[in-house]
Symmetry: C3
Subunit: 151 residues, 3 copies
């Protein structure tokens, strides 16, 4: 049990995985914050206490809310693969320095991606941070497949 | 290999992870059920055997289908982080009683969340069950980071 | 550490998990490709260099882009559960032949699902490949729960 957590590569992976997953989860409360401040909801029961006229207005989409939701969706599409591939990568016994490089670049690129998406910063800042994160995950997947391939 | 499954905390995690993942997967067939009973599809090929007029009608969205899809999306955003964080948490060697408390509250809150979303129950039942689940995952993430932090 | 990767079932799982995750990740670049060739974007900053009139046109949705996005979403809803359940399944010590059967059918069914969705092939090809993948994951979840259940 504890022997996995005695391994430095696995501890490093655990740290960065927890950080990026928590970052992804915080997009949920951020969506809720934008929904309340912009007055844009998806469900009838969320605006049940309002007058009929207000309700109709509040059930429309708002560009700021949709932006946060797209950012959250992009996290799901990129952070979840990173965590899965990173876990298996950590188990293939890579060098600590190589593993740290992968995890740090990924975490940095995804935090920058969120800033670039929400502000928003001019392109290609968002595109490049997305490509960087994807490159890290594909690099780890390549390492996995070249080490343990058994079809 | 088998030594992970000899650990009671890991076995408990495995059980609850399987339960919440299966619960999440069942949203797929439920969406299909609502699509057929409400006659609301997204793809031309899904309604290929119908007349041109019927086809047009059946390619519109329906509020009940969209509701199930939002519930499924919320599961993806919350259950996947729970499973990842819970796995790493189980490997940090927590007390069995503490682990059980986390896993049971999470599973209960997500099952209640689905009921509150689909029925739907009046707010804040859905909001509270969502916050409860998120609190459990963040609590486990805090435990992980305070135990194995290695940046 | 390395002892997990010395286990043939776990190595097989690692291989197939990496393959289906990489397959899922490639839907991201494919979406980008369709966005550029069809001229359909979601964010103001993505079309900042165009004239006001062109911008308005390019911020509309396009059916081909939406199709790829639905396929990506379906991958998230099915491949992520497979990876999580498959990891726990591999740790319960199944027969190598049984594990290989599950992983191979799943990987095949999801690759076929993507082809059936993007081309698109006439139904029920997409529905059947979706059901096949789901059946594999549920079969592994059943094996897990019948082996290690501890509530």
């Amino acid at each position: 049990m504890a022997n996995l957590m005695e391994d430095d590569v696995f501890r490093t992976f655990t740290t960065y995985a927890a950080i990026v997953i928590v970052k992804m989860m915080l997009m949920g409360p951020m969506t809720a914050y934008y929904r309340f401040t912009r007055g844009s909801f998806s469900n009838e029961e969320d605006v049940a206490r309002k007058s009929a006229e207000e309700r109709k207005k509040m059930l429309r989409t708002h560009p700021d809310v949709e932006r946060v939701r797209r950012c959250h969706q992009n996290d799901l599409e990129n952070i979840v693969p990173f965590v899965v591939v990173g876990l298996l990568y950590a188990l293939t016994g890579p060098e600590l320095s190589a593993a740290l490089l992968h995890f740090r670049i990924f975490a940095g690129s995804r935090i920058f991606h969120t800033i670039a998406y929400i502000c928003p910063l001019p392109q290609p800042s968002r595109a490049l941070s997305w490509l960087t994160g994807m490159g890290v995950t594909l690099s780890m997947a390549y390492k996995i497949l070249s080490t343990v391939l058994l079809l």
